[in-house]
């Protein structure tokens, strides 16, 4: 059991780094999304996610999924990677959640498995849910894969997020990796010193102690960061540097996003 707690946590930690690495390589490829101003990417892809939610018909959502797929291809994002990391996982989770809807939703029965009845409405609602989640997650994933995190954050300024929020998001992201690494090291050293299997209550104690040390280190670190910020001139009003200029290409891209979204919503009204 001690293995499983440490290892399952380590797996979660590994996910963070893998995702970051994948994003770095994909963001450097020369694809369609990568060619657009980051602000257009953020606004456009968020608009499409909104369109997914606003569409009321299955066909409209399916059309948006096709759009997402096309975007992935045009942006040199490996479809296989998307399938493995996104589509299959979402299908697993959402599928399990949507499955009972087949039987539980009242309406026109279309099939029967013994005494249990599958309704047409049940089929449609399950399909709608799964498609919506898949499409929305694809759009979000494309944004993050094709854009370096610092650009995603600065682009959020276009959505009128306050500067302090941007700074906090950036700092949090940066320190997540530090804390994950620290926590991992603590677990590793614990694992190497553990002989045999730890009882669950000992595991809990270890988890709490690791979290506790991490917490103290976090607070101490934040004190130092504050001093470091002050030392370099931070006086309370944070400044952010961005160097982007919108070109015709960007505006065309933005138009494309808005058109696709509006069409889907209109189709699916």
């Amino acid at each position: 059991m001690s293995r499983s707690f440490l290892e399952s946590t380590a797996v979660g930690f590994g996910r963070a780094f893998t995702r970051a690495m994948l994003s770095e390589t994909t963001a450097q490829r020369r694809g369609w999304l990568q060619s657009l101003d980051p602000r257009v990417r953020v606004v456009g892809l968020f608009a499409l996610v909104l369109a997914v939610t606003l569409s009321r018909k299955l066909a409209a959502v399916a059309a948006l999924l096709v759009v997402a797929f096309a975007m992935a291809v045009l942006s040199r994002v490996s479809v296989v990677t998307l399938a493995k990391r996104v589509w299959l996982i979402v299908l697993g989770f959402t599928g399990v959640i949507a499955l009972p809807a087949l039987f539980v939703t009242p309406g026109q029965p279309v099939a029967a498995l013994g005494s249990v009845v599958i309704t047409e409405q049940g089929l449609r609602t399950a399909a709608l849910l799964i498609l919506r989640v898949e499409t929305a997650v694809t759009f979000t994933t494309l944004l993050v894969l094709c854009t370096p995190w610092s650009h995603v954050l600065k682009a959020l300024r276009a959505l009128w997020l306050p500067k302090e929020a941007i700074v906090m998001l950036a700092m949090t992201y940066r320190y997540v990796f530090l804390l994950v690494e620290t926590a991992n090291q603590m677990f590793e050293s614990r694992r190497s010193r553990t002989v045999g299997i730890l009882k669950p209550q000992d595991q809990r104690r270890m988890a709490a102690r690791t979290a506790g040390v991490l917490l103290s280190k976090s607070v101490a670190l934040s004190n130092d960061v504050y001093l470091a910020m002050q030392s370099r001139g931070f006086r309370g009003d944070v400044q952010v540097l961005s160097d982007w200029h919108l070109t015709l290409w960007d505006l065309a891209g933005l138009l494309g996003f808005v058109l696709a979204g509006s069409l889907a919503v209109w189709m699916g009204r």
């Binding site: 009242p106 026109q108 009845v117 997650v137 700092m171 320190y175 504050y226 002050q230």
Partner: protein, 353 residues
């Protein structure tokens, strides 16, 4: 508890975004009274910390595992305003970066897990630990209970948000457009998982961390302890207790009503439609939609006092469940408030005796 895109209708998302934005605004305003520049790194690092805590797969009593949120320890160390922001940031990064939780549902997720959870955690902790010494065992227990409550109340909110979707948002043929399960299924389904696993995980980690801090770094527990300290006065991030409870009560009441109102405003449903849907749902032949009898009776109890000329939807089952949930928590809050003021009066009598 992270709700992905597609489970909640646009108007629900909108309402919850407004709710979340109110919480963020209030929290930021409170923190600005303190030194924002000092607080930026503290909140950021704490957000990172809670992000990491959410990754821990904790072994629970009983042999299972569960994930905690870290919202309780955030509330205990930072106060509710800091916790609201720290958790919101962690949730936003999870949504954007990992796809855990959606973009349209970011407001809802922050509302449930950052705002409601922080307020409940903080208020419960303060209530139960009131007056206890910094190193006392009661604080550890208070943290555990606060964590358990916070997670479950947040889960209840999420369950209600899910559960009212099919009732309010479906197409002409009755197909639910978003989350497909009514309250009668959504609430038990969500609550079972959190009453057992997630709630316990949060309780375990919150208690464990408070116990650790009592020994290793008690200074971190002092600002929210409510104990008189010879150091500086309570920082501005910590609001007065009764106001918190009122805030929670108001939130709990406004949310469902807000959702209903918004649905009308958007024309997504009309009371007539809803009445039809409610009556058709009650005559559905599917055996799996049978509702626990107790819940049915409770629902009738709440809707019965409404006058006969009230809109039809008020008498529907769905609305009844909604009210049951909300009023139930409201009752709990009133009882706790009464208990606290009784306890305070009792203590005053003792000290003056």
């Amino acid at each position: 508890m992270h709700i992905p895109d597609g489970y909640l209708s646009p108007s629900t998302c909108g309402v919850l975004y407004v709710g979340a934005a109110t919480g963020w605004y209030a929290a930021l305003k409170r923190l600005r009274q303190a030194l924002l520049s000092r607080v930026i790194p503290l909140i950021s690092v704490f957000a990172a910390f809670s992000f990491v805590v959410m990754m821990f797969n904790l072994p629970l009593p009983g042999g299972t595992t569960g994930h905690a949120l870290g919202v309780t320890i955030a509330a205990i160390v930072l106060g509710p305003s800091g916790a609201i922001l720290a958790l919101s940031i962690a949730i936003a990064i999870q949504a954007l970066f990992f796809g855990d939780g959606g973009i349209t549902t970011l407001g809802a997720n922050c509302f449930n897990m950052a705002i409601v959870a922080s307020l409940v955690a903080y208020a419960s902790y303060r209530l139960i630990a009131a007056g206890a010494a910094l190193a006392s065992r009661r604080r550890v227990i208070a943290a555990a209970i606060a964590g358990y409550l916070a997670i479950n109340v947040a889960a209840l909110f999420a369950a209600v948000e899910f559960g009212i979707q099919p009732m309010l948002f479906h197409d002409a043929s009755g197909t639910p457009l978003y989350a497909p399960y009514p309250l009668s299924i959504a609430v038990p389904a969500m609550m079972i998982g959190h009453l057992t696993f997630a709630g316990l995980a949060e309780a375990v980690i919150s208690a464990g961390l408070v116990a650790y801090l009592q020994v290793a770094d008690p200074g971190l527990l002092r600002p929210t302890s409510g104990l008189p300290s010879d150091a500086t006065a309570e920082p501005a991030t910590v609001p007065a207790l009764p106001r918190l409870w009122i805030a929670i009560a108001v939130l709990m009441l406004l949310t469902p009503l807000g959702i209903l109102a918004a649905g009308t405003a958007w024309g997504e449903w009309s009371p007539a439609q809803l009445a039809r849907a409610a009556s058709s749902a009650s005559t559905a032949s599917s055996p799996a939609s049978a509702v626990p009898v107790g819940l049915q009776r409770l629902a009738k109890f709440w809707t019965a006092p409404f006058p006969a000329y009230a809109p039809t939807f008020v008498h529907s089952r769905g609305f009844g469940y909604l009210l049951s949930a909300m009023f139930g928590v409201g009752i709990l809050l009133t009882v706790s408030l009464a208990a606290r003021s009784w306890a305070a009066r009792h203590r005053r009598k003792e000290s003056s005796a």
